[in-house]
Amino acid sequence: MTLLRVSGLSVDTEGLPVLRGVDFEVSAGERVGLIGESGSGKTVAALTLMGLQPEGFAVQGSVEFEGRQLVGLSDREFSAIRGARMAMVFQEPMTALDPLMRVGQQIIDAVRAHRRVSSSESRRRMLELMARVGFPSPEEQSRRFPHQLSGGQRQRVVIAIALACDPALILADEPTTALDVTVQAQVLALLQRLVAEEGSALLLISHDLAVVSSVCQRVLVMYGGTLVEAATTDEILKAPRHPYTAALLQTSAGIGARSRLAAGRLPTIPGSVPSLGGFPEGCVFRGRCPREQARCREVPPLVGDGHRFACWFPLEPGAAPIAGTFVGR
């Protein structure tokens, strides 16, 4: 059952395109990864789904969630959905919590934003949530202020806030990026377990292919505000079709980079992500792509059945990832 259907979603700010015609779907209970370098538009995509895009960002296209069109809703109408049906886990647990409010109260606020329950009932729910996200003594720890918790603990609070009203979809924007490596795995495992228990769908946004591939069933690859490839995790890892995905795979340490690291060279993608408005006409990856030809001046559509990609000259399925091409100069 389709939970979220995004079609032709475009976001502009001051005439510059941040997202251009993004299409994808998320089914109920599905775990989908959205991957891309910084500046690819993935955070804006998540914020736009929540209706929390910064002021001055113009949204076009369609976001259908549980059969309801979200684009154009008023703040009040959107507020009824946010936190209740669709919740978000933010990247920076350091700043995502109010420094002057006890963490327990911040979770209670999330419960009471949508449920008219007594204060003892919302408190009971808060303690239950804190226990579920792994606080050994919720009673005592709920009285702490954010600065009295570690980064990992804060992110657990943020996750508890997201889970407060059993949302159907959780958007997690780089939920582990700001955490210590040892804590990252714990928080990721927690998120994965809770989503499975709740039956919620998860849209996991990350720049880290390893993180996404360990959690998600399907991967969306984003570059320059467009989706360049969408397929199952397996297909993306074993048989990427878009040259950008292939390049990303090669640079991702642990997946394809070890042999190259041994040779003393860190694989990179030549060039850098252009600034907003600096993307070339036609295919957004033009200029950095080793397979570029004249036709790439036209925008390639996202085509394919199941495994979709936007490239005029895709890699052959099953062919070994293009070797050497992307090693930095």
Partner: protein
């Protein structure tokens, strides 16, 4: 502890500065016709022939036991006179602060909420104009329009509290507005900046992601977070208000602390000047102490005793 040290430093400074001034108070009091013998006699009577440290100790010891001393000029105790002046200036500063806050908080919040719209820009511009107007000019304008043309409120003078509370308040309204408007305009800028800061904070986005509508999220998290920087400025602005009161009292001929200070300076009544300056210093230092303590209540990150 730091407060006591600050006050000690202030007292030494006040005493030293006023005693460096040339001219003997005894000479000034007795006038140019006085004989050297009578000047010497008065100098001894006032204790001005003693070494300075001893004079300082005498003065500060008196202050600590709440004996403010006697005026050099009238020979009367200073305390009752200063008390009467405080009954004017205290309420004046308090009303000015209240009026300033009443202007600053709503305009600051509104101009922050509308910072992308023309109305917000106009509000911000209006506060800028408010900052630019000197308080005495505003005072004179208010006297001309409200007191002289409209005859709504008294233009000057003060009806003592003991005679008529309403009359006393009426005579303080215009001075308080002149004093408060400028402080309010300055404060409004800080409120605006503080609210804008909160509006961009991640925790506000979190609150909205929970499903709180924009305004409710801002009230829930904004008021408290924005109050931290505003509180700081408020503590600092208080000394501005007291300085402003000196000028405003002169404009409205109010018998307040500022007027007393000015006349004491003119009369070379050093001991009264010292007492008043120390009083003002104490008020400012104690206010800042209170602000510091209030911080700890508002912001749990500042550990008590830290």
């Amino acid at each position: 502890m730091a407060t006591v040290l600050t006050l000690f430093g202030a007292s030494v400074l006040v005493f030293a500065v006023l005693n460096i001034l040339p001219g003997s108070p005894a000479q000034v009091i007795l006038g140019t016709q006085a004989t050297p013998a009578s000047v010497r006699e008065l100098t001894i009577k006032l204790g001005l022939n003693q070494p300075l440290p001893l004079q300082y100790l005498h003065w500060i010891g008196g202050l600590l036991s709440l004996h403010l001393g006697n005026s050099y000029i009238s020979g009367q105790p200073i305390a009752p006179e200063l008390g009467a002046a405080l009954a004017v200036t205290g309420p004046l500063v308090a009303l000015g602060l209240l009026f300033g806050l009443a202007i600053a908080v709503p305009t600051g919040i509104l101009s922050a909420l509308r910072h992308r719209r023309a109305s917000g820009t106009w509000l911000a511009a209006a506060t800028q104009v408010g900052i630019a107007i000197p308080n005495f000019v505003l005072g004179i304008l208010l006297i001309i329009v409200v007191a002289v043309d409209w005859r709504l409120l008294p233009a000057s003078g003060f009806i003592p509290w003991s005679q008529s509370v309403g009359g006393a308040l009426r005579s303080l309204v215009l001075p308080a507005i002149s004093l408060g408007l400028v402080e309010g305009a300055i404060l409004s800028r800080y409120v605006r900046t503080a609210i804008l800061g909160v509006m961009q904070a991640d925790y506000l986005r979190t609150a909205r992601a929970k499903g709180l509508p924009a305004r409710r999220a801002l009230v829930r998290h904004g008021v408290r977070n924005a109050s931290v920087p505003v509180l700081t400025v408020l503590g600092l602005e208080l000394s501005g208000l007291i300085i402003g009161a000196v000028v405003i009292e002169a404009v409205f001929t109010l018998p307040g602390v500022g007027s007393l200070l000015l006349s004491s300076v003119a009369n070379r009544d050093l001991i009264t000047v010292q007492d008043i300056v120390m009083l003002v210093a104490t008020v400012v230092v104690v206010t800042n102490l209170l602000v510091d303590m209030l911080y700890r209540v508002v912001d749990p990150r500042l550990e008590v005793g830290g």
